[in-house]
């Protein structure tokens, strides 16, 4: 299938100028989900400001250039946008055929992290250094390929019209496909990503229409596994303390407890309207570690206050709400499953990230979609937005 075909589904009528085609009523551009797109863009731009505020004084990070992170974040956003456009251009159906290759490549990259090529950054052994100051976090891309791979397997028979719901065999295959990269990521160990992937699997299973037994079985297995890990003493006490420190910072006062505490002070001191961008003393004083990445929400909380931080949640809500609509309105199960997987991913990762800064979730190293600094994460979420847009534009017109 050629790209041009994918770009226009109308397929009839006289030749029109590029601009006319772009603004035509049935044009792809007109049919994009603009609220989602603009919300995502706005989140990325807010993220740019927050990352700049958090890093402009961190000379040990920005190599003396206060704008280093500002430009990098904008660049990442631009690359992300390009990736989104590319994804829409190709179309999710085209990508469906490439899923086995993409899956294979992503699993290979994740495996590569476990070899000496892998690098540890900020305590997580989840990176591949590319040189020139660039590095790659393959687990971000694995999230996409798990979604695409599982959707491909689960939707195949249903979309072909053979069955109403995927059968047990297919479900087992799909779970197996997800399990391989999840196990590898667990070995890194990058437990935050593992949690997100587990949620993705759950979302995908739900949307696929797999029988309730699978859904509840999976939930039960997860709970049993957690209890087993707890009871069998697989984890050291300090690991348990780290996990529980979000509720009681005393358990790990110098580590996670410190983060939790400082994050909460930063957010709490923002009040309704915040201290103003660049005027937060917690931020300027660099009391919150990892503030440009995992704890970027604290900058919003302190400097933009309830209104600014609330806006971020609302914008994420817009993205998720539109994604839900796309999931419900698409005609193919494949598209529904992909959208649901992305929803589970974004929703859980956002909830976990913001929740940990607010002290209602355990601390885990996860970026806030669009807002946190970090190339791999930015690229992955924009590809995901591209997938959602593609699902939307490729469904038959409802009119």
């Amino acid at each position: 299938m050629s790209g041009t075909n994918g770009f226009s589904v109308s397929g009839y009528g006289p030749e029109r100028s590029a601009w006319a085609r772009l603004i035509a009523r049935d044009s792809l551009v007109r049919r994009l989900d603009w609220p989602m797109l603009l919300s995502s863009l706005l989140l990325s731009l807010i993220g740019t400001a927050l990352v700049f505020s958090a890093t402009r004084n961190r000379t040990e990070l920005n190599q003396g250039d206060p704008y280093y992170f500002l430009f990098r974040h904008l660049l990442n956003t631009g690359i992300g946008l390009a990736l989104m456009i590319g994804t829409i251009w190709l179309g999710h159906r085209t990508l469906r055929t490439a899923v086995p290759i993409l899956y294979g490549v992503s699993v290979f990259l994740v495996l590569l992290v476990l070899t000496p090529v892998g690098a540890t950054i900020n305590g997580a052994h989840a990176w591949i250094r590319l040189g020139g100051g660039f590095s790659l976090q393959p687990s971000e891309f694995v999230k996409i390929t798990i979604i695409l791979g599982m959707a491909m397997l689960l939707a195949a028979r249903v979309d072909a019209g053979d069955k109403d719901h995927p059968d047990h065999r297919t479900v087992v295959q799909a779970l197996g496909l997800a399990a391989v990269p999840i196990m590898i990521v667990m070995l890194m160990p990058d437990l935050g990503s593992v949690m997100v992937m587990a949620m993705i699997v759950l979302g995908v299973l739900l949307a696929s229409g797999a029988s309730n037994r699978w859904v509840f079985g999976l939930l039960g297995a997860g709970a049993a596994g957690a209890v087993a890990v707890w009871q069998l003493g697989v984890l050291d006490e300090y690991q348990i303390n780290r996990f529980a420190a979000f509720a009681n910072p005393e358990l790990d006062p110098a580590g996670v407890g410190y983060n939790t505490n400082q994050a909460r002070i930063a957010i709490g001191s923002g009040g309704l309207t915040g201290t103003g961008l660049f005027h937060g003393s917690q931020t300027t004083g660099q009391f919150v570690p990892e503030q440009q990445t995992d704890f970027v929400f604290t900058v919003a909380g302190e400097e933009l206050g309830f209104l600014g931080a609330g806006l971020i949640i609302v914008l994420l809500g817009v993205v998720l709400w539109r994604a839900c609509r796309i999931a419900r309105e698409t005609t193919e199960l494949y598209g529904t499953i992909v959208a649901a997987g992305i929803i589970a991913w974004f929703a859980f990762q956002s909830f976990e990230n913001i929740g940990m800064t607010l002290g209602i979730m355990p601390v885990a190293g996860l970026p806030l979609p669009f807002v946190s600094y970090g190339g791999s994460s930015m690229f992955a979420v924009w590809v995901a937005i591209g997938l959602l847009q593609s699902i939307r534009v490729q469904r038959p017109m409802s009119a």
Binding site: I265, G271, A347, I354, S398
Partner: protein, 766 residues
């Protein structure tokens, strides 16, 4: 939407998608709710916590107030030294962490660059001294001995020395005006402890790690007033300690000045004469021990009789209080506190206690009157007094026949008081005391303020001891086990005593009451207690709390807080008894035991009253006591192992009076030479700029003066006569009276009631 697609859209999937959507919305609402709770509901609380997160305090030390004598002469003040300090916060902002600046600074100061850098580094477990142990926000002193030239170089080229300051800084100094060092009264400072820092951390005057705190004497008693209030500057800092903002500083408030009643000149005389007296005593031979007197320690108190204010207080051995300035060295510390040091840090005027000997006799005299005996009655001054075969001798077994109580004081007759005390002891029931035992002799002593602190404004005063029935009992309870173990009926002297004590040490025995009546045995008093008592006899009966501090004056001289004399009791005697006793004590100075020390004294113009005492201490040489007063002053001196009262202490006390009143050896007064013919009433003036107009002081050194005056004496005498001073006609009479005092002192008896053997006769030369 409305169109149900034909493929893959089963109701199951549709319902699950709705559930997912609801779940997503509720998660986001949870976040929003929590955000509202933290920021809007509890926001203020967190904002407060956030501001506390990054405020660092830098404390500027307050200049400690001066301690002044009664005329404003500084006894303790501050010396300005040029201190060059480096600000770490500024240095760390530089590209090379300030290395260049410090190297340049080392050049100016003539130090090695490495030494300078070592001083600026922060101490930690691996860093050896020198290193900076204080707050990294505090300017770190590099040297406190910069010359004005070096300081100028640094200041004028401040652009070359960013972060470096050269400031004059106050350092404590004890100038010893006129060589009056006043060491034990002033006390000393030593560095603040971690505990004290922790305790004062949140108070309005936190300590610096480099702070000094008063540890004894006035420095401790008035520490709060002298300290002032340190200035605090609050800096906002980031988590790495870099300064990002500065709040308005609270300026340091210098400490107040303490004006004392000490007169530096009289203090010097007291110190000098005490030392001379002790030196002289060491040349005297003690027949009892067959060696020279040790005169190991001594004290003298000069007090205003009408107020209890201390004009001079000397304790010997002494030390140089400047040894403590800038941190005491280990060697100095050992010298001041070691076993062989004889403890010069002790202020023996308030911390030295000894049996008072016969200067105690004013107490049993008052007790006898209170018990109903007449002052002018006839009391047998026999050569000895015996109880059940035990003989208590009068001093040198002299007998005066029947005499009055007044005469008994004059000649210091022991047997009169033995008899009275023993009679009262019998009346009270003897070994089996009555329930309503009057205990006149003990009660009166307590009423005189003995056995308890006088309340002087100096720390760690000791209380002395009155060996009454209660004390005997308590003491026996505490010691009976040891006594009963070591006591032997036919053993050595000490063993016999222990044996006796074991049997009946809990009771007040006849011998105890006899010994006690003349201030021997277990009785202990301090010089300040005796000064308080003799001052009370002089002033008509009021027992004042002795004070050294006279006023606290703010650094600008505007606020003056006077420390008013405070009484803690009245002497238990009538005005009539007071007058009779006063006469008798004057008699001691004119015809009694102290008369030979007051030859030529102008008794008509400056009535002198005195009482001598020689106390015996088992295993040691006798303690010399001398208590005297005029209408304005009381002087009490004691020398441990120094010999007799008038013998060892007499000349020194006379010379102190001579200096105060401007008298020469013959009793001629020259008011121009008088240091303090009347107690100082006014307070020194402190100007609003903090300066004090203190008079100049010449060092009192009679040995030099004698040489100098030999040539000019004739001229001086001639000039004096026209001034209206006629030579006293009594002067010649006094010469004869001087001879009438035949004894060096009165004496008492040892703990077992045994009298001493022979006693050396003092040489009468003056």
């Amino acid at each position: 939407m409305t169109n149900i697609p034909e493929t893959g859209r089963t109701p199951r999937v549709q319902i699950r998608l709705v559930i997912m959507q609801v779940l997503v919305v509720s998660l986001l609402m949870t976040l929003g709710g929590r955000l509202w709770y933290l920021q809007v509901r509890n926001g203020e609380e967190y904002a407060k916590e956030a501001s506390g997160n990054h405020v660092q305090q830098v404390v500027q030390p307050a200049v400690r107030g001066s301690i002044l004598d009664a005329r404003g002469v500084p006894l303790a003040d501050n010396e300005t030294r040029l201190v060059v300090s480096a600000s770490r916060t500024d240095l760390m902002k530089m590209k090379d962490d300030g290395k260049g600046v410090l190297t340049k600074l080392a050049g100016v100061l003539g130090m090695k660059p490495k030494d300078v850098m070592d001083k600026v580094r922060l101490c930690n477990a691996e860093t050896p001294q020198p290193c900076w142990n204080g707050s990294p926000y505090q300017p770190i002193p590099i040297t406190d001995e910069a010359t004005p030239r070096q300081a100028l170089q640094i200041r004028e080229r401040s652009e070359d020395f960013p972060g470096i300051t050269a400031e004059p800084t106050a350092v404590r100094r004890y100038p010893s005006p006129g060589e009056a060092n006043t060491a034990q009264v002033l006390g000393y400072l030593s560095p603040v402890t971690d505990e004290e820092i922790e305790k004062a951390k949140d108070s309005d005057s936190p300590y610096l790690r480099s702070d000094q705190v008063g540890r004894s004497g006035l420095e401790r008693a008035y520490d709060k007033e002298l300290r002032g209030k340190a200035g605090v500057t609050r800096y906002e800092v980031d988590n790495l300690g870099r300064v990002i903002g500065q709040a308005k500083p609270d300026e340091a408030e210098p400490g107040a000045n303490l004006v004392t009643s000490i007169d530096a000149r009289v203090q010097r005389v007291a110190e000098y004469e005490l030392n001379e007296a002790m030196k002289a005593a060491r040349k005297e031979f003690d027949d009892n021990t067959n060696e020279n007197y040790k005169a190991d320690s001594g004290a003298v108190v000069v007090m205003e009789a009408k107020t209890g204010r201390v004009v001079a207080m000397a304790s010997n051995p002494t030390y140089d209080p400047n040894a403590w300035v800038g941190g005491i060295s280990g060697k100095d510390y050992a010298r001041l506190t070691g076993k062989d040091s004889n403890y010069p840090l002790l202020n023996r005027a308030i911390q030295g206690q000894a049996a008072p000997g016969s200067i105690f006799k004013v107490v049993p005299t008052a007790a006898a009157i209170n018990a109903g005996y007449a002052f002018d009655g006839n009391y047998d001054c026999s050569s000895s007094y015996s109880i059940g075969g035990q003989v208590f001798k009068n001093f040198e077994s002299q007998s005066y026949g029947p005499i009055s109580l007044g005469r008994a004081l004059e000649v210091s007759c022991d047997t009169v008081f033995y008899r009275l005390s023993h009679q009262e002891w019998l009346k009270d029931g003897g070994m089996k005391p009555k329930k309503d035992a009057k205990d006149w002799f003990y009660k009166t002593a307590h009423q005189f303020g003995l056995g308890q602190e006088t309340g002087i404004d100096l720390p760690n005063e000791v209380s002395g001891r009155i060996p009454d029935r209660q004390w005997k009992k308590d003491y026996w309870e505490a010691n009976k086990d040891a006594w009963c173990k070591s006591g032997k009926k036919d053993g050595s002297y000490a063993e016999k005593i222990a044996y006796e004590n074991c049997l009946e040490g809990n009771r007040l025995r006849a011998g105890d009451s006899v010994n006690y009546s003349i201030g021997q045995g277990d009785t202990l008093v301090t010089p300040i207690q005796m000064a308080t008592i003799y001052a009370a006899i002089s002033n008509g009966g009021t027992l004042y709390d002795p004070t050294v501090g006279k006023a606290v004056i703010s650094p600008d001289g505007k606020s003056i807080q006077e420390i008013k004399p405070k009484a803690h009791g009245k002497l238990p005697m009538s005005q009539k008894t007071r007058d009779e006793m006063d006469q008798a004590l004057a008699g001691v100075a004119t015809r009694g035991t102290a008369a030979w020390r007051f030859g030529g004294w102008p008794q008509d113009r400056i009535p002198m009253h005195a009482k001598t005492g020689t106390a015996e201490v088992y295993g040691k040489q006798t303690t010399s006591w001398f208590a005297t007063y005029t209408k304005d002053y009381t002087v009490v001196m004691t020398i441990s192992q120094g010999g007799t009262g008038s013998g060892a202490s007499g000349p020194a006390v006379r010379k102190i009076y001579n200096a105060i009143y401007g008298l020469d050896e013959d009793g001629k007064q020259d008011l121009k030479k008088a240091l303090l013919p009347e107690p100082e009433k006014s307070l020194p003036k402190i100007e609003s700029d903090g300066s004090i107009d203190a008079p100049k002081i010449e060092t009192y050194d009679p040995s030099k003066e004698e040489k100098a005056s030999e040539e000019g004496q004739q001229a001086g005498d001639d000039q004096q006569l026209p001034a209206g001073t006629t030579p006293s006609p009594e002067a010649s009479n006094r010469d004869t009276r001087r001879r009438s005092g035949r004894r060096g002192s009165t004496g008492g008896r040892g703990p077992g009631g045994r009298g001493p053997g022979g006693r050396v006769r003092r040489r009468r030369t003056t």
